[in-house]
Symmetry: C2
Subunit: 193 residues, 2 copies
Amino acid sequence: MARQGLTRADVIGAAIEMIESEGLHNFSLRELAGRLHIKAASLYNHIRNMDELYTEIGYYVISELKKVQLDAIAGKQKAEAVKALADAYYRFGKERPELYKVILSLPMVKNDAIHRAGFDIVEPIMSAMAGYHLTREQMMHLQRVFRSIMHGFISQEEAGCFRQFPVGVGDSYQMAVRGFILLLESSEKEARE
Amino acid sequence: MARQGLTRADVIGAAIEMIESEGLHNFSLRELAGRLHIKAASLYNHIRNMDELYTEIGYYVISELKKVQLDAIAGKQKAEAVKALADAYYRFGKERPELYKVILSLPMVKNDAIHRAGFDIVEPIMSAMAGYHLTREQMMHLQRVFRSIMHGFISQEEAGCFRQFPVGVGDSYQMAVRGFILLLESSEKEARE
DNA sequence: TTGACAAACTAACAGCGTTAGTATATTGTA
DNA sequence: TACAATATACTAACGCTGTTAGTTTGTCAA
């Protein structure tokens, strides 16, 4: 059959759409091909394999997450900035849960390119913390703590692990963020000594 | 062929072994069957399907995790108990990463039995926090925060997301635990008012 | 000894990612 | 404008997956 001007970007875009609508679990190259009106084998003219496709989608997710976070903290300082950062992260995770899951499925180990993307994850957090008087080393650790809290909360809520107890998940989230801010303030005091 | 006294527990045990040695990603019913010297179809005499097998393994993981945590906090109070709790959780996640991953793949939604297992996850945390003067509602929230920090840290470290920056991951972990203890102390003050 | 049950088997199905080999439409060049 | 090269599609197939149906057979109880 004839070609239809299908680009690599189209394939990745359709994959993102399919993951968001059908769920990461139900994603398959055959159905993706169907959505593009081609056969599965033809996809390999545009992508090397499924891993590469996931990597590409991972890039997209990370850059989107970076965008909403940078937008959120613009013009804000200290606790206000950190709260805005967390809220943007949390909202992204709740609104696009299937896409969010792609990040963790990335093969961080071998792929140097994706390693670079790691800095895109870190940058907004570092910016939000910039108002605090912290050493560079403290920030490196605190950045990991922030990501732990956020990722742990989002993925467990999504998995349904927060169903026990009749207390609002939103309140638990607020407490988690408050905990991180307490840690920031405490670290700041330590740095001054 | 003849039977060999194979039990349901043998199947589950072999599955756990295989997941730990080959990785959750490489687990398959056919290879599991091979390890037991039967054909894949014969497994269905012992288990309903793969989901049920995962659920069963999930039970095992949760109960093991509960055990090591309860052992760790025995005879300890407040910050010391919480640190021991976290350390036991962290150690479990690092020593048995593939098995740990099974927990999150559990279908928490429909399965009421697994919902009950949720209380096994919560119990050690509640015990460790018992020394603090907290309201029941505070504990419900704090329990979620604890699990978020721990799960987020373990799964990101395991995925290789903490490779950036030349600072020790162990130090980041210590800071994360310190943050949670700060939150506990702060919550305690609030509760006294 | 016989009947019932449990546990193994074979064969097959539909789905998956992936590769090899082939046809054809478009594009760049002479 | 004609031709060669390239890009994009195709079909067919491979080996893998979980799962089901139907069949055989060993074991245990009446």
